[in-house]
């Protein structure tokens, strides 16, 4: 028996991709309207892992709510925590010791590399190549080990606290990071040989999912998604926090706006992260790793906003305080949510097979979108 296919009035076919689909990297549900193989509309249905983290945070103290944010963008756990502690520190006017600042930046950049590694492996797998996944995980594993030693966790790390970091660095930290840099540099050229230079990959990514500069800004895209379209949006450069204004690195900009441009931004960003780590790893200042803070934090009445650059883009934390021990309202501006909203615009007129390449280069993490 042939099942009836859902069609629109114009005779276009409606299909569901997800919620359980390998290419969506989580439980994302796309309702796609197709004319033959050409996409006419992509309608994302979100919320399959919505936990209402913002509401939850309203009943958590300023120390507790930070831990929840690791579960949003779990690949940028440290950087999410960073956004939150910066916001609390801004409200409390806490001075962070120089040592803690450097440790934070080191952790952020290691996280960024780990996140981009996973993206690279998973995206290559989406496009049909299985081997790159193992290459990416070989290096990523080293970062996970470094994290495990110092923070005690491999994925949802909680290491940043208001005023600094939670614990002193593990004695092996510097050595292992240096080992990782050597390993990464010896292997990173393989990435280009395996994927970047491959003509099949290039054909599948070039001129696919083109997003113009104006649209990228209008849709609120940030991070590598927007930088692939030529938008200057690196928060580390525009609104430097911690020691980002003292280290040398380049903001990677590509102008083509297609999937390949977004791919190249992330590949080149990994090299910049290595550059930052190299400058800081031998120059971690001595001193306290945490400023002295009160046991119970109370933010003064007012509104505080902080922004950091995660692996996916601009992460904003907006705290409205009534002067109590818990936030009155908290809003997380997650990069994935805005980046996803551009998918419909990108995909229209493209082919169904190319949708995987577009989603792959948007680097979607679904808990980050649903929150």
């Amino acid at each position: 028996m042939v099942e009836e296919v859902a069609r629109t009035i114009d005779g276009d076919i409606i299909i569901n991709v997800g919620p359980q689909h390998p290419a969506t990297h989580g439980v994302l549900h796309l309702v796609i309207t197709l004319n033959g193989e050409t996409i006419k509309k992509v309608d994302p249905h979100l919320g399959y892992i919505h936990r209402s983290i913002e509401k939850m945070c309203e009943s958590l103290s300023y120390r507790q709510f930070i831990y929840v944010t690791s579960r949003m963008d779990y690949l940028s756990a440290h950087i999410n925590n960073h956004g939150c502690v910066l916001c609390v520190e801004k409200g409390m006017q806490i001075e962070v010791p120089a040592r803690a600042q450097v440790i934070r930046v080191l952790m952020d950049e290691l996280t960024r590399i780990a996140s981009h590694e996973l993206w690279w492996g998973a995206m290559a797998m989406d496009l049909g190549a299985f081997t790159p996944f193992f290459h990416a995980f070989r290096e990523r594993e080293t970062i996970n080990d470094i994290m495990e030693e110092t923070c005690g966790a491999r994925l949802t790390m909680n290491y940043f606290v208001p005023g600094g970091v939670m614990l002193e660095l593990h004695p092996n930290f510097q050595k292992r990071v240096k080992d990782f840099i050597t390993l990464f540099k010896s292997k990173v050229d393989e990435y280009d040989e395996l994927v970047t230079g491959n003509i099949i990959f290039q054909n599948r990514m070039k001129n696919v999912g083109v997003l113009s500069k104006e649209d990228a800004v209008s849709y609120g895209c940030t991070g590598p998604t927007a930088r692939g379209s030529g938008v200057n949006c690196d928060i580390r450069k525009l609104y430097p926090y911690e020691v980002y204004d003292k280290v040398e690195f380049d903001e990677i900009i590509e102008t083509a706006g297609d999937s390949f441009a977004r791919y190249m931004v992330r590949i080149r960003e990994m090299h910049q992260s290595i550059r930052i780590i190299e400058q800081l790893i031998d120059n971690i200042p001595e001193g306290d790793f945490q400023a002295k803070t009160k046991a119970v934090l109370k933010l003064p009445k007012g509104e505080f906003y902080s922004r950091v650059e995660t692996a996916r883009g601009e992460f904003g934390v907006y705290i409205v305080s009534e002067g109590g021990t818990t936030p009155y309202r908290i809003k997380f501006r997650s990069p994935g949510f805005s980046n996803l909203s551009a998918l419909d615009h990108m995909a229209r007129g493209g082919k169904l097979g190319d949708l995987v390449a577009m989603m792959g280069t948007l680097d979607l993490v679904i808990p980050d979108i649903d929150r």
Partner: protein, 151 residues
């Protein structure tokens, strides 16, 4: 432009606006002024606020406040806009025709706070499952007997 220059410029454009102190210039506006004022903010040659980086709502138990964070990718200045809405029948004009990111963010505010965005092209539930229309989980008086987590 710095905060003082922005203040003068915006007072010219919208005399009824009131200002608040803060990290960025905070402007209180009337919901009825919002559509035309938003157009001016976006297209004025000296302002060019083309990036709406945060759109949210706050429930103050007596009223709702819509909060818009804007930045300009050309001049790099930021402002915050606030509009006070009635709690029983909150309505404000959409800005999704000016900043397309508002399409998603306004849908989120619609389901979480019940704000009705006039002329929004596609105002329906985004995150919540079907059947949640009219129940707004982010409001302070929301009660869910089954799934409510109290900490």
């Amino acid at each position: 432009m710095n905060i003082e220059e922005l203040k003068i410029k915006i007072a010219e454009l919208l005399p009824s606006a009131t200002f608040e102190d803060g990290e960025w210039l905070t402007i209180n506006i009337e919901p009825k002024d919002w559509p035309s004022f938003a157009q001016q903010l976006r297209y004025d040659e000296q302002l060019k606020f083309d990036f709406l980086f945060c759109l949210t709502c706050i429930d103050w138990k007596t009223h709702l406040t819509m909060v818009y964070h804007l930045t300009s990718t050309t001049f790099r200045h930021n402002i915050v806009l606030k509009a006070k809405l009635d709690r029983t029948n909150p309505e404000i004009e959409t800005v999704s025709n000016i900043w397309k990111t508002a399409i998603f963010h306004e849908r989120e505010v619609y389901e979480m706070f019940g704000v009705n965005f006039i002329n929004h092209p596609d105002l329906r539930l985004l995150i919540l499952p079907d059947g949640w229309e009219g129940k707004n989980p982010m409001r302070k008086d929301f009660e869910d007997p089954i799934n409510m987590i109290r900490l």
